[in-house]
């Protein structure tokens, strides 16, 4: 009668997926998603990807924010990369505001920036190329464009409040100083593309073996900054080595009050820890299940 149905040999699907709660929980995080009128793979509410190639590994999770999920709209973040000729070109963007065209602007900017980087442009030049590409549309977007080579050399440029970290010695070290001086009232202005003279900030960093570059939109970056004892250590721990992409998506989908923006986290590891170590289990496509 009330006996649960047998799952059969080897068919145990395990515990239901739970998003981690980091700080005060967000009731909206667990609210049902509204069925969207139109949807396609390119604007899925959950996107996860990654891959390994010898001395370099990539993982990305990109999630529609709570507000979009409960409102039945798609995400406005975008990401992309190109792995070619020993150089990884990557970009992450966040469509600004809820104006029409925000999603298109971020996707266009990412595509243009990755193309420019792959063709040999510097990150700052890639930002300009992206600005030109989005100038024809309605929307605006932030952008981080970066190149990584397997020797750990990283060059970056950004416009707006998307940001980047190096995961070093177990913690996330932000590459750009946040303009917010710790002021008591949150600042809201953000630079964006298109712009005739973009407020581009650049950075260069050398990754040591085992260290990772972590590029995020503000849906992640604000939470890292506001959650120094919760979000920051949890993400740093999850990125100790390249996680399974679905595991990264689950962690990036943490529940935290007031953090309802789209979230994108793209990480690149170089060096001997780039590839998941086989830890006593049969070699498979999956990495270790987090830390």
């Amino acid at each position: 009668m009330s006996t649960p149905p047998a799952t059969g040999d080897g068919a145990d699907v395990g515990a239901p997926l739970r998003r981690p709660v980091l700080g005060r929980p967000s009731p909206a995080s667990d609210a049902p998603w509204k069925l969207r009128q139109r949807a396609a793979a390119a604007d899925a509410a959950v996107r996860a990807d990654g891959g390994d190639d010898g001395a370099l590994s990539v993982r990305v999770a990109s999630l529609a924010g709570v507000r979009h999920r409960v409102g039945g709209t798609g995400p406005e973040d975008a990401y992309g990369w190109c792995w070619d000729a020993g150089r990884l070109s990557l970009a992450v963007a966040d469509g600004v505001g809820s104006r029409p065209g925000a999603a298109a602007a971020s996707a266009t900017a990412v595509a243009a920036a990755v193309d420019a980087l792959a063709a040999g442009a510097s990150p700052a030049a890639a930002v300009l190329a992206a600005s030109g590409a989005v100038a024809g549309g309605e929307g605006a977007t932030t952008l981080v464009a970066a190149t990584v080579t397997p020797d750990g050399a990283v060059a970056l440029a950004r416009v707006g409040d998307s940001t980047a970290y190096v995961r070093r010695d177990g913690v996330l070290v932000e590459l750009w100083v946040d303009p917010d001086d710790g002021a008591s009232t949150a600042t809201t202005a953000t630079a964006a593309l298109p712009a005739d003279d973009p407020r581009t900030e650049t950075a260069e960093v050398a990754l040591a073996p085992g260290e990772a570059l972590v590029v995020v939109t503000d849906g992640v970056g604000d939470a890292v900054r506001d959650g120094p004892t919760t979000v920051a250590p949890a993400l740093a721990a999850a990125l100790a080595s390249p996680p399974d992409p679905l595991e990264l998506a689950r962690i990036t989908d943490f529940s935290r009050q007031g953090v309802g923006d789209d979230r994108t986290l793209l990480a690149v590891w170089v060096g001997p820890h780039a590839r998941p170590e086989e830890a006593g289990t049969p070699t498979g496509p999956q990495g270790p299940p987090g830390v």
Partner: protein
């Protein structure tokens, strides 16, 4: 307060204060409408977790004196918004002085529990001119919007009846699309419900902007009211 930026947990919230004129002339249809509409606002905001999570809402009334009838709260935790009743005259000075103290107190209390405020919004609804001396309410207003005070709110003002467009424009610092006046011949019994609907939509849009990472005060579009043109300032 603390120099320990970087080790404290913080949570973004967007405070909204309804600042309601309860002078004697608001008796009858205007305040009856407000009392009918406040529960709708409570449910529209409080029962949507994505909105309630980031909005904090409080109600301040003013006549001869100002008082907080609903302390700033998460509306998902508020069962009833107390009804408001008509009192005496129309002291804008009392309202502004009270708001300045209340905002600072609420900020301090919220900060202690980890709240990170977006700039607070004050929505002033009035059917009259200030009954205090101009110098007094202007001084109270100047203290409220003092740019050197970090918590100085953005103000939206809605006037009908005897409200003075020039005063409302001054209250909103002459900013475009912040002060609204009822169209000629409008009836408060129909106007106030529209106004409250507009307030709800303003809160909803503003909460959405919090989630998009660029919080801003979204002025409502209220049927029967027109934005006071900036050139009406003088």
């Amino acid at each position: 307060m603390s120099d320990a930026v970087g080790v404290e947990e913080r949570y973004a919230v967007f405070p909204f204060y309804l600042c309601l004129d309860v002078s004697a002339s608001m008796a009858g249809a205007p305040l009856d409408s407000v009392n009918e509409q406040l529960p709708l606002l409570r449910s529209a905001v409080g029962e949507d977790p994505a909105i309630a999570e980031v909005i904090r809402f409080g109600v301040v009334t003013f006549s001869d004196v100002a008082r907080t009838v609903l302390p700033l709260a998460d509306l998902s935790l508020v069962e009833v918004i107390p009804p408001v009743g008509a009192e005496g005259r129309t002291s804008y000075a009392a309202a502004f002085e009270h708001l300045r103290r209340q905002i600072e107190d609420d900020y301090t209390a919220g900060r202690a529990t980890g709240d990170k405020w977006y700039r607070p919004a004050v929505v002033l609804i009035s059917d009259g001119r200030p009954t205090d001396e101009e110098a007094r309410w202007k001084a109270a207003h100047a203290a409220l919007v003092d740019p050197s005070w970090k918590r100085h709110p953005n103000i939206l003002a809605f006037g009908f009846g005897q409200a003075d467009p020039e005063v409302l424009a001054a209250v909103t610092e002459g900013k475009p699309n912040r002060a609204f006046i009822a169209d000629e011949g409008s009836n408060p019994a129909t106007l106030v419900p529209e106004l409250m609907k507009g307030l709800i939509s303003s809160i909803v849009s503003s909460s959405a902007s919090v989630y998009s990472g660029a919080a801003q005060l979204a002025p409502p579009d209220v049927a029967g009211m027109t934005a006071i043109a900036v050139d009406q300032l003088d």
